[in-house]
């Protein structure tokens, strides 16, 4: 065949294929077309095999015509295949549809108790300020809970803390600690200054569990003993922790107070976090929320643990964790913290 004839046959093959492709309605039809127009016995193949029958210089032109026709057919089939499969795919996806809003399965996260959450936050703040975390027993000797802390027997300040005693040893010598301060004594007994520690823990008072009281609650205390510690350091440290915990808009207020184990003694409050000092029901319109007590370690306490008060000075502070929890999470009933009701616990 002549060169032109061959080129025409290639072109015809393309036109025929294009017509069939346009008419194809399934992917299988296309596979069949593909085989018939591009496969071994296809017209284009016949043309390609006939190339060698034309003169050398014309072979390239025929080859190009075959390649072009082949590329066009492939392209048209691919385009048609995409068109056809989009429909199929939609049907297939429809069949695969799942409703994820049904919710998850087999996994339910638990919840940390709100006291644990605030407890950890407080520890982290103080660790950030350079403090270690110290612990001690919950059942204590009178010496650690009172006497070493400058509460002599019969001291009226003992009446401030209604104590639960334990039936062990001499009467009223073994007790459930009324504050975490005995840990301060234990730390100072076992370690020489510099001391920078906080003592979170569980403490006890002679109260019955109801909406507002609990015989058990949690405190965190802090102790710094070093050379040159001042009352200014105490005030600044408490302010730093209040900023770290509540943010820069919340500041600290200090008023003189009395505790047997510190002198001078202060009590401290933070700007009410709810009204930022404007006055609201949480802070009884005062703009301040009482947090706890603090002061410079009394020389009598240093004497009890054999630390030289002329060389070292120190400060101590303490406040209630539960109170902070109640404040920050708006927990009205103390009892909720203790009855293990999951309707309460799962909120945190």
């Amino acid at each position: 065949m002549s060169r032109d004839e061959l080129i025409e046959r290639a072109s015809d093959a393309h036109s025929d294929a294009a017509a069939e492709i346009a008419a194809a309605s399934t992917l299988d039809d296309l596979t069949d077309i593909d085989r018939r127009y591009l496969g071994k016995g296809s017209p284009l193949n016949t043309v390609r095999e006939a190339i060698k029958t034309v003169d050398g210089p014309d072979r390239a032109a025929v080859g190009q015509a075959v390649s072009a026709a082949r590329a066009l057919i492939e392209e048209t089939i691919a385009a048609r295949r995409d068109a056809l499969s989009a429909g199929d795919r939609e049907a297939a996806l429809d069949a695969e549809r799942l409703d994820l809003t049904i919710g998850g399965r087999d996994y339910r996260r638990g919840h940390l108790h709100p006291v644990t959450r605030i407890w950890r936050e407080l520890e982290d703040v103080f660790v950030g300020l350079g403090y270690k975390v110290a612990e001690g027993p919950e059942v204590e000797l009178d010496w650690y809970n009172f006497e070493a802390l400058n509460f002599p027997p019969g001291h009226p300040a003992r009446a401030m803390q209604d104590t639960l005693y334990v039936r062990l040893g001499e009467p009223e010598q073994v007790l459930l600690r009324t504050h975490t301060s005995p840990v301060q004594i234990r730390v100072m007994e076992s370690q020489r200054p510099p001391i920078y520690s906080v003592m979170p823990g569980r403490v006890f008072r002679r109260d019955t569990l109801d909406a507002r009281h609990s015989p058990v609650f949690h405190q965190i205390e802090g102790l710094a003993v070093d050379e040159g510690i001042t009352l200014g350091d105490l005030l600044g440290t408490i302010e730093a922790f209040i900023h770290a915990l509540f943010g820069p808009n919340i500041s600290a207020r200090f008023l003189p107070s009395f505790f047997p184990f510190t002198e001078p003694s202060v009590e401290f409050a933070a700007t009410c976090v709810f009204c930022e000092g404007e006055g609201c029901t949480v802070c009884s319109k005062t703009g301040w929320v009482e947090l706890g007590g603090a002061g410079m370690v009394d020389p009598n306490v240093f004497a009890a643990v054999d630390i030289d008060p002329e060389r070292y000075s120190g400060f101590a502070f303490g406040f209630g964790i539960d109170r902070l929890v109640q404040l920050l999470y708006g927990v009205d009933h103390v009892k909720n913290l203790w009855d293990g009701d999951v309707r309460f616990l799962r909120q945190f």
Binding site: K132, E140, G154, A157, P194, S214, G236, L255, V266, L345
Partner: protein, 796 residues
């Protein structure tokens, strides 16, 4: 302590607004709990006189009072029993407002119109007395505002006084602080009695217990009993005390004014007309003023008559025998200084705290004893027509001197972070009654005896801080560069344990560490040794928990009772056991417990399923993995307290029992009213975390494929699956990668008490693909080992 502003002004001319006075008191450490303006809620109540009282036409108890209110007369309906013609009373006119925003309008009462209302003390907010209409002074001007007549135009500061400040338990002490804060003069006339005598007539004082009663002052006078004048009654009311009679009111007045508790005895009823101060004998009894018979110990101090019969518990409360009454004509006034801790102990032991004991136990001024008695005598003369007898008995063998305290100004600054010179410090101290001596950097502070809290240099440091004002002290932080903060490994691991449990779906509960013995009986754990609370308020909180599970199970039962029976709870907390021999304190350990009840929720994907022991075992496995325990296993246990005898396993770490996991005992489940499956675990954290750990080192991950084989064995059903698994692991040796139990099968065809356990074992070499021959050898070795160790047969 309630301090009316008008009373304070008798001692210092403060004119500042009440809010500013309160602020100053707060800054000085006298905490103002409340600023009470008692008249603020009363409006339109005036003085009226009752002209006539006539019966109500339609009611027995209600009467009609014709009154004159200065500008006119009208009629009001009144239900009070005490009205009578001539009585001067508070009259709330139409449009008046009473406390509680109670507006007075014209009303008809049983058909008779009432043009306003006569008021009881309670209706005016003056306490709880609602027994009748308040009687005003007969000479009160008609039509005057009752707020002025009753002194209700005053401001009362409610103060919370710390235990170190007896002086601030008196108006004068509060006034002294205010004078210092505002730079005002403070004036207090403290006159000493004229002459000291051994006896006044027949009256003598014998102090047997000198160390408990370092000073005793007595004076006598004839008196005319009656009510005290209005001004005194008003002040007492504002200060929160009830007026009783002129004599008693004077003693209370001086107590409130000067923190000087006094006691007046009816001299005519005091046998021998004298006083003996002695310790009680153990078991001695006396009846106090409140009508209660008190049993005493030999540490309680008594004020007795000359024959030794108790007439009062010193510093706490008087007795009924020699109490002043309407018929009293002559009194003996006691003004004493008692040793503070003795009073504190007695008050606590007897369970009686009075206004007097609150002051004595803080330590009143021993040197104000006589002047306080003189102040009372002057008032007796003024309000009770008293004629004092000549002379004063003053038993004060060892006068208390003022402490002389050396103060180093450099030390003060070093502790406060201030830069004050000694002169400035002295100027701050003087208005507090502290005299100073010396002109250098170091000086002597001579403290007043009404401030027993001032004994040491540090006490003076505190005074300087109070006077400087805490808001004026620069805020710094300690600058030691060596301080580094961290949690200990134990503290970090405790958090990790809680986090694993939260990840496993458990909610953290806190349960009270105080339990009832019944909590143990109920949960079958009464076998634990317990530590008892000596003085519990109630039986429910009378022992320290020996384990967490009794409390945690109670929490689960609480949830079930409130409609949530599917719960997963955990707790991390201290448990208590009796002390080891020779130790004073109980053994405390940190325990970790879990309770899971009801169903595992799987709906709507699949049906819910009941919880099983495997649910808790999974958590134990997760904890062991978190802690990288090198050697731990479960071992069936039949006698664990509170556990099901055949559905429990001990958690063994390094051969030591860390705790138990399993189902709760059936009787416990029923006793707790839990109608659903309950699986639990309790672990001793110290044993768990004390276990040897796998090194925190990565091992090579092989690039070569694994070969897996399945093997099923028939064994006796008493053979623990974990034992077979361990045998397979050991047999696989270094090539073993994983051994997993994937099927448990029981059938008659296996024979009675036999069970089929099917395992997948996978083998892999780090450096090559295992050949079929190698795998076949490993397979045979595994089979041989299990057959030999457990009497197993391989299932075809």
């Amino acid at each position: 302590m309630r301090a009316p502003l008008s009373w304070i002004r008798e001692f210092t001319p403060v004119e500042a607004a009440p809010a500013d006075v309160a602020d100053a008191l707060n800054q000085l450490g006298l905490e103002v709990e409340e600023i009470d303006e008692p008249g603020r809620e009363i409006n339109g109540v005036i003085v009226a006189k009752i002209l006539d009282v006539v019966p109500h036409p339609d009611a027995d108890r209600i009467r009609l009072a014709d009154i004159d209110y200065g500008d006119g007369q009208l009629r009001v309906v009144c239900g009070a029993p005490n009205i009578e013609p001539g009585m001067v009373v508070p009259y709330a006119r139409l449009g008046a407002v009473l406390p509680g925003d109670f507006k007075i309008e014209r009303r008809k009462i049983r058909g008779v119109v009432s043009e306003g209302m006569l008021c009881s003390p309670r209706e005016l907010g003056l306490g709880d007395d609602h027994g009748g209409i308040l009687a005003l002074a007969p000479d009160a001007p008609l039509g005057a505002d009752v707020r002025e007549v009753l002194g209700l135009d005053d401001v009362v500061f409610h103060l919370a006084i710390t235990p170190n400040r007896p002086d601030a338990m008196g108006i004068t002490g509060v006034a002294r602080e205010i004078a210092a804060a505002f730079g005002l003069p403070f004036t207090l006339a403290a006159e000493e009695p004229a002459s000291v005598v051994d006896a006044i007539g027949e009256s003598r004082v014998v102090v047997e217990a000198r160390d408990r009663c370092p000073r005793f002052v007595a004076m006598t006078a004839t008196v005319t009993m009656g009510p005290s004048p209005d001004w005194m009654q008003q002040r007492l009311r504002l200060a929160g005390m009830r007026p009783i009679s002129n004599v008693v009111d004077v003693t209370n007045y001086v107590m409130l004014e000067r923190c000087r508790p006094l006691h007046a005895f009816d001299l005519g009823r005091l046998a021998g007309k004298g006083i003996v101060v002695r310790l009680a004998t153990a078991g001695e009894q006396m009846e106090t003023l409140d009508g209660v018979v008190r049993t005493l110990t030999n540490e309680d101090l008594l004020i007795c008559d000359a024959t030794g019969v108790p007439q009062g518990i010193a510093g706490i409360m008087g007795g009924a025998d020699a109490e002043v009454s309407d018929s009293t004509t002559e009194i003996l006034l006691e003004s004493a200084y008692f040793e503070p801790t003795g009073i504190a102990r007695s008050a606590k032991r007897i369970g009686l705290r009075s206004e007097a004991s609150a002051r004595f136990e803080r330590g009143i001024d021993p040197n104000g004893t006589a002047s306080g008695a003189q102040r009372a005598m002057d008032l007796f003369a003024e309000v009770a027509g008293a004629q004092p007898a000549a002379g004063t008995i003053d038993e004060y063998p060892a006068p208390v001197t003022r402490p002389r305290i050396s103060v180093r100004s450099a030390r003060v600054n070093a502790l406060l972070g201030t830069e004050l010179d000694a002169t400035a410090m002295q100027a701050l101290l003087t208005p507090l009654g502290v005299e100073t001596e010396g002109t250098g950097a170091d000086f002597v502070a001579v403290a007043p005896t009404f401030r027993p809290d001032l004994q040491r240099e540090i006490d003076v440091v505190e005074e300087v801080a109070r006077r400087v004002g805490l808001q004026n002290i620069p805020r710094t932080v300690p600058s030691n560069p060596a301080k580094t903060g961290s949690l200990t490994p134990e503290q970090r691991e405790r958090r990790a344990i809680a986090d694993v449990l939260v990840g496993a779906g458990y909610d953290e509960a806190y349960t009270l560490p105080l339990l009832a013995p019944a909590d143990l009986t109920r949960t079958g754990t009464e076998g634990f040794g317990v530590v008892e609370v000596e003085n519990p308020l109630r039986a429910e909180e009378s022992i320290l928990r020996p384990a967490l599970l009794p409390g945690l199970l109670r929490a689960a039962a609480f949830n079930a009772a409130h409609g949530t029976s599917d719960v997963a709870l955990f707790e991390l907390g201290t448990v208590f056991a009796p002390p080891p021999l020779g130790e004073p304190l109980p053994r405390e350990s940190l325990s970790c417990a879990m309770v899971r009840t009801g169903s595992v929720r799987r709906a709507p994907h699949e049906p819910d399923r009941p919880v099983t022991t495997a649910d808790v075992v999974a958590v134990v496995e997760a904890l062991a993995a978190e802690l990288r325990l090198a050697d731990w296993r479960l071992e069936a246990v039949g006698d664990a307290l509170g556990f099901h005898p055949t559905r429990a396993a001990a958690v063994i770490v390094d051969g030591q029992r860390a705790g138990v996991v399993g189902e709760v005992a059936e009787h416990a489940r029923r006793a707790l009213d839990l109608a659903v499956p309950v699986v639990v675990c309790e672990l001793d954290v110290a044993v768990l975390a004390g276990g040897r750990r796998r090194p925190r080192r990565a091992s090579l991950v092989s690039r070569f494929p694994a070969s897996s084989i399945d093997l099923a064995f028939v064994v006796a059903d008493t053979v623990p699956a974990t034992a077979v698994r361990e045998t397979l692991r050991a047999a696989a040796g270094a090539m073993g990668e994983q051994v997993e139990l994937f099927d448990i099968f029981r059938a008659e065809s296996l024979g009675p008490g036999r069970v089929s356990l099917a395992f997948t074992c996978s083998f892999r070499a780090p450096d090559r693909t295992l050949t079929d021959a190698e795998v076949a050898t490993l397979r045979q070795a595994a089979i041989d080992a299990v057959v030999a160790a457990h009497g197993a047969e391989l299932r075809a």
